[in-house]
């Protein structure tokens, strides 16, 4: 039994007290220090951003995280493989199903089994549904940070249709925990395919609506065009991924370029890029990606193969010794798991590479020299989920 020493407890209390101190402090020499967060709405959770200002201009900007660190990498070491999926559902909580897939694929790679085609196709459909649920919220949220409140309500309304479909298929609204090593937990319920196609229609209408409501808005354009420009080489060096990378003009999508056992190659869709690299480009790319996702879902549901949804796997899952890396293009960007197995019931070490961690690392670089209100739009356009940063 190891207990916290008195010194550890004191240190912990001190750190807590420091965080609780006054949120705004003035310095005479080096301009002003402004604390954004930890509860600022633009931080999507509890991220604290210390901004040093000279007048209204940002001198430096340092994100401070750890308010939501749950230590998943440590926790995976004391769980079995099927138990890990429950944990990793909570990493990016808006697109939970997409979190499970790369981990399951990594385990399958080590065990050298492959899910049957039907399971792979349904996985892809659910993966894209989580992308739509995740990104449609972003679209409303981005407008909200610029001051347009109504777009957020539309986004919440239409996202609900998608969540209903995910719930109908998996039983879980936010945390499906539906993916299994070797396949899926259940087949699709009756009538689900027709319902989902109707939902996709609604989502396409939602995209049109958002284009007229937000994208064409003059104020929106003035606040986002030319703001927060990230050039392609910086994006690559920082390891940005997903729409943030594609908005910088890098034509790279793991779904197309390195598909890992899912069905994206079976249908016709486009990778969206934008050359500008500013906040507007990131918004635009994401909005178009929702459209592409609805296309993928429609096509996959049309050609869904018949057959089993579960491969033959042993009752007690022991993963053979080895190391495997699997990454997929998640709603927020590239998410990967580096799984080290020692042939036990559970993993020996799991390194979770999350998209937001790398995406947010670019904030100090991109916010130098911008004005205070632009910090909020840049944060919103980079789009991160706190659970995805802190793990």
């Amino acid at each position: 039994m190891t207990a916290l020493t008195e010194r550890q407890q004191l240190a912990y209390a001190n750190a807590q007290a420091a965080d609780g101190r006054v949120n705004l402090e003035f310095e005479t020499d080096e301009g002003m220090t402004l604390n954004m967060g930890p509860q600022h709405p633009a931080t999507h959770g509890t991220l604290r951003i210390v901004v040093k200002l000279d007048g209204e201009e940002v001198i430096s900007c340092e994100p401070i995280m750890g308010y939501m660190h749950r230590g998943y990498e440590k926790l995976t070491e004391v769980r079995t493989y099927p138990q890990v999926t429950t944990l990793i559902n909570r990493i990016d909580w808006l697109g939970s199903f997409a979190n499970e897939v790369p981990f399951i694929l990594a385990a399958e790679k080590l065990m050298d089994i492959e899910a049957p085609p039907r399971a792979q196709w349904i996985r892809t459909v659910l993966f894209e549904l989580s992308r739509i649920a995740n990104i449609s919220l972003f679209v409303g949220d981005m407008a909200l940070h610029i001051g347009a409140i109504s777009a957020a309500f539309y986004a919440f309304r239409d996202r609900e249709y998608v969540l209903n479909q995910i719930e109908a298929a998996t039983g879980g609204r936010f945390h499906p925990n539906f993916d299994r090593i070797g396949g899926l937990k259940d087949d699709l319920p009756k009538g689900w395919i027709a319902d989902t196609k109707a939902t996709m229609e609604k989502i396409r209408d939602f995209c049109d609506e958002m284009e007229t409501l937000v994208e064409g808005n003059e104020i929106f354009q003035a606040r986002t065009r030319g703001i927060g420009v990230i050039p392609a080489d910086v994006a690559l060096a920082y390891g940005l991924s997903g729409a943030n990378l594609r908005a910088s003009g890098v034509d790279w999508d793991l779904r197309r370029d390195e598909p890992v056992g899912l069905a994206w190659n079976e249908c016709d869709w486009n990778v969206i890029t934008h050359p500008d690299g500013d906040s507007f480009a990131r918004f635009w790319v994401r909005l178009q990606e929702i459209r592409e996702s609805t296309k993928i879902v429609d096509q996959l549901l049309d050609g869904l193969p018949a057959g089993p949804i579960m491969a033959k796997v042993p009752r007690i899952i022991k993963v053979p010794e080895g190391e495997a890396w699997v990454a997929t293009e998640n709603p927020l960007g590239e998410m990967g798991y580096y799984v080290v197995s020692k042939g036990d019931l559970g993993p020996f070490r799991v390194k979770i590479r999350t998209a937001s961690f790398n995406n947010v690392a670019v904030i100090p670089w991109v916010t130098r020299g911008v004005y205070v209100p632009d910090v909020v739009t840049i944060l919103a356009s980079l789009y991160f989920i706190l659970g995805d940063i802190d793990r």
Binding site: Q8, V78, R79, P82, P314
Partner: protein, 219 residues
């Protein structure tokens, strides 16, 4: 997946990569491991860590930085904590067995870079001796390594020479210990036995063959 339908035994692209790297770095490449059609691991010496980074970035065109992390290869001295609380603790096992591309020491830092043009990934590993857990920083190679090195510093206690700001990223400032080391106990498991011990989910077995297979595996 699509390019290599039958997973050839010799992976030419990855073998060429390793050859090129060995040519550039000479003796600094200690060992490598290729899983055909899938992935490649290269272990380099500690002195050549930054050079290796620059070589893969500039000469081999691996411009996309994925992550940097570390592994503590010590077997967990507390077991998996899946045993009933009344059972005796498992015998502490200190035998260190490392993974792909080998290793001689307990701590190993590894990083992954990606080439968008060749569509290949590369895992680089480096051993750290127990008495000197430090490494040259990769900041001049990939700017994005900053937070990854800070995380490794607090979680494993590995210092990165040349990193200007190795403050804790997640943990409170004066936290003692390095949580991702295997000898750091997970206190929650000491306070309360893990309820997941009984959680073994039955799998649907379609025929007798599958039944037999699973029983074998269970033994």
């Amino acid at each position: 997946m699509e390019e290599t339908p039958e997973a050839p035994q010799v992976d030419e692209a990855r073998q060429a990569l390793v050859d090129k790297l060995a040519e550039e770095l000479g003796d600094a490449v200690v060992e490598h491991h290729i899983r055909p059609g899938d992935d490649v691991w290269v272990r380099v010496t500690r002195d050549a860590w930054r050079t290796a980074g620059l070589v893969v970035r500039d000469h081999l065109n691996f411009r996309y930085f994925e992550f940097l992390s570390a592994i503590d290869w010590l077997p967990n001295p507390y077991g998996k904590n899946e045993d009933a609380p009344t059972d005796p603790r498992p015998e502490p096992n200190t035998e260190i067995v490392t993974g792909y591309a080998g290793g001689d020491t307990r701590f190993q830092v590894f990083a992954r870079v990606h080439s968008l043009t060749q569509k290949l990934g590369l895992n680089l590993k480096v051993d750290l001796p127990d008495d000197d857990l430090s490494l040259t920083t990769w900041l001049p190679v990939f700017a994005g390594v900053n937070w990854h090195e800070r995380e490794v510093h607090e979680m494993f206690g590995i210092t990165f020479a040349g990193h200007p700001y190795l403050q804790n990223l997640y943990l409170p400032g004066e936290f003692e210990g390095h949580p991702l080391r295997k000898d750091f106990p997970l206190l929650a498991r000491f306070v309360k036995p893990w309820p997941g011990i009984v959680d073994v989910e039955p799998m649907p077995a379609s025929d007798d063959e599958a039944e037999a297979e699973t029983e074998e595996a269970a033994e």
